[in-house]
Symmetry: C2
Subunit: 346 residues, 2 copies
C-alpha cells in the first residue's frame, strides 16, 4: 500500500523509473497492482492515445519511431507500448535496441516499453489499458500503442486507442482481403507504408473500394464478440461522419509522416467536435468494467471448481453418461445464483 | 417438460421432424432447451463427428455433399450441420437447395441443417455441440460439422469434432500463410481440393513444409485463448503420434473422395487405439462445462448489473474520475465473492 503510494507519487512527479516499475507490476499483476491503477485513474484523461496495427513487415516500428521523433521535435512527450500477443516473453531485442536508440538521442521523454501475452487475451488488453493509464497519468502527451501482429488479439488491444491506424504493405490484393477479418471496422486511418514500392497505387485503390464497403463489412464484423462485450462492439462500429482516411508513407525516409500526423490530428479534432471522444471513452469504460468482471468471475469460478475438487469427477460421470454438462453447470452455478438473489430480496 | 419428453421420444424413435424441432429449440435457446439436451446426453457417444473448415470458395459444401452421398451408398446415416458465424440469419438459400437436392434423391437419411450466429461465439459453439448431440442421440452414424468461413469462430466451432479436415484451395502461398492463424493446430487432415487446378502441387508442398513446423506453430497458437479455455487449448495441441495427413480431391468429380474417407477412417481408428478419443472427449466436456459456466455467470452478472440500474451511473463517475474501473468491478463482484466464501465456510 504505502509502497504503492510512493510509487504513484514518483510516477506523478515524472520519474521514468517509477513508470517502468508500475507497468511491470501491471504486466505481472503483482499484488496491489489493482490498487495502483485505481490511484492512477483520477490523473488520466489528458493524453492522446494512438493505436498502430498491421501485418508483420508492414513497417510499424519504423513508422512509430519516426512518429515519436517528430512529436518530440514539436516538444510533445511520447510513450510507446509495443504489444506482442503471440509471444509469452516480455522485453525482447527489438525493443531493447529501440530503447537504446532513443537514449542515444539523449531523449528520455520517448518512453518505449514492450508487453507480451502472459495469459488470456482479456488479461493482455486489460494490462494494455492499465499501462496506457500509467503513461497518461505520468503526463505523456502522445501514447502510441503498437501491436506486433494483426490478429484478433491485436484488434482487441488496439481498441484501447482513441485513433486507430492500420498499416498496409503494398502488394497483392490478398493483403487487403486479409484486412476484412475485423481490422477494417476499427481503422480510422489506413497507412499504405513503403508507398515507394510497386503495387502501392493498387493497394490504395483497393483500400478505397473497401472503405466504401465498410458498413456491410462492419455488420459482418459484429459476431464472434464475447457476450459481455457484444453491445460495446456494436457501438464501436457506429462512427458515422468519419470515413477512414488513406495516407501513403515511406517510414524509412520519413516521407508522408507529416501528412499522417496531420490526419491523426484531424481525427483527434473530429473526435472532440462530434462528442465521439467521450462516447468512445464511455464505451471503453463499459467494456473495461465488463472485462474486469469477466476476469473476476472466471477466478471466482476457478476457486469454486477447486473447492469442489476440480472437474475430473464431473467429467468421469459425463463420460459414463451418468450426468450431462448442463446439469453439472447448474450444480456449480446454482449456489452463486441463490446467493445473489437472496441478497437482492433482503 | 412433458412436451420435451414427447419430443425426445420422437427423436429417439427416428423422426426427422422431431430432430429438426429439437435443433431449432437449441438454436433459439427456447425455454426448456437445456432440459432437452440434458435428456439427450445419455443417448450420445456412438456417432463419428467430422469437422470441415476452410476459406470460402475452397469447395466445402461440394465435398460435404459428396461425402454424404458416399457414406449413404455404404449404408451409413449422415447428419450435416453447416455453421455460418458471420451471418445473423439461419437457414439460407444454399442449404435450402441442398436439402431439396437430398430429398430429390429420395434420401431422407442425409439430414442437412444450417445454424447461424445468434449472439456470442460461445453461444454458437455451445449450440453446435448441442445440435451434434441431437444428431448423435438420433442415431446418425456420421455427423459432419461444416463451417462456412475459416476464422477464429470457425476454429472454435469445428473443435467439437473428433476429426478436423481443413480444405485448402490451390493457389498462392498466401493462402497457406493465412492458415497459420490457428487453423494449422487443429487440422488432422488437410484437403487440397480442386487438385486439378494449377498450383495444387505447390500448395501440397507448402503444406508439407508447414506440417513439419506445426509444433512451433502450436506453441504460438496457445495465446489469445480465453482464460477459462486455456488449459483445454494446451491439451488440444498435444496430439503426438498423428501427423496431419494431406490428401488431394476434386470434389466436383468426386476424385480423391474415397481416399479422403479412408484417411478419415484411419484417424478415427488412431483416436480409438491411442485413447486419444476419450482424452478428446474429456477435454471437450471440460471445455463444455467451462463455457456453460462462463455463459451462466455472464447472465448472472447481467442480472446483477440490471439490478444496479445498469452501468451508466458507474460510467458517469468514471468519466468524472470520481471512481475507477477496478473499484467499480470490486463493488459489483464482492457480493458474489462473499456469497461463495460464506457458503464454503458453512
Amino acid at each position: 500500500m504505502s509502497d504503492n503510494e510512493t510509487l504513484v507519487d514518483e510516477l506523478l512527479a515524472g520519474k521514468h523509473r517509477a513508470l517502468a516499475r508500475v507497468i511491470t507490476k501491471i504486466e505481472n499483476r503483482s499484488p496491489g497492482y489493482r490498487d495502483l491503477v485505481s490511484q492512477l485513474h483520477e490523473h488520466t484523461g489528458d493524453a492522446e492515445v494512438i493505436g498502430i496495427t498491421g501485418s508483420p513487415g508492414a513497417g510499424k516500428s519504423t513508422l512509430v519511431d519516426k512518429m515519436a521523433a517528430e512529436y518530440r521535435d514539436r516538444g510533445e512527450t511520447v510513450g510507446v507500448i509495443a504489444i506482442d500477443p503471440s509471444s509469452p516473453f516480455t522485453g525482447g531485442a527489438v525493443l531493447g535496441d529501440r530503447i537504446r536508440m532513443a537514449s542515444n538521442r539523449g531523449d528520455m521523454d520517448v518512453f518505449f516499453r514492450s508487453m507480451s501475452a502472459r495469459g488470456s487475451l482479456g488479461g493482455l488488453s486489460t494490462a494494455t489499458t492499465d499501462a496506457v493509464k500509467a503513461l497518461d497519468a505520468f503526463g505523456k502527451d502522445k501514447i502510441i500503442v503498437e501491436t506486433v501482429g494483426a490478429g484478433q488479439n491485436e484488434i482487441e488491444i488496439v481498441k484501447t486507442a482513441d485513433t486507430v491506424a492500420v498499416l498496409v504493405p503494398p502488394g497483392s490484393g490478398d493483403d487487403v482481403q486479409m484486412l476484412k477479418a475485423g481490422i477494417l471496422e476499427i481503422a480510422d486511418i489506413f497507412v499504405v507504408n513503403k508507398a515507394d514500392m510497386d503495387g502501392a497505387d493498387r493497394t490504395v485503390k483497393e483500400l478505397r473500394e473497401m472503405v466504401h464497403m465498410q458498413d456491410s463489412a462492419a455488420m459482418a464484423g459484429h459476431h464472434g464478440a464475447g457476450a459481455l462485450a457484444s453491445d460495446d462492439e456494436t457501438e464501436d462500429d457506429d462512427e458515422d461522419g468519419w470515413e477512414p482516411a488513406i495516407v501513403e508513407t515511406v517510414a524509412k525516409t520519413g516521407e508522408g509522416v507529416d501528412e499522417f500526423l496531420a490526419t491523426l490530428a484531424d481525427h483527434a479534432e473530429w473526435l472532440v467536435e462530434t462528442g465521439e471522444l467521450e462516447a468512445q471513452e464511455r464505451q471503453r469504460y463499459t467494456a473495461e468494467i465488463r472485462t474486469l468482471l469477466r476476469e473476476d468471475t472466471a477466478s471466482l469460478l476457478a476457486e469454486e471448481i477447486d473447492a469442489r475438487g476440480g472437474l475430473e469427477g464431473f467429467v468421469d460421470d459425463l463420460v459414463a453418461r451418468e450426468t450431462d454438462p448442463y446439469t453439472v453447470a447448474d450444480e456449480l452455478i446454482e449456489p452463486l445464483e441463490e446467493c445473489v438473489r437472496d441478497r437482492r430480496e433482503e
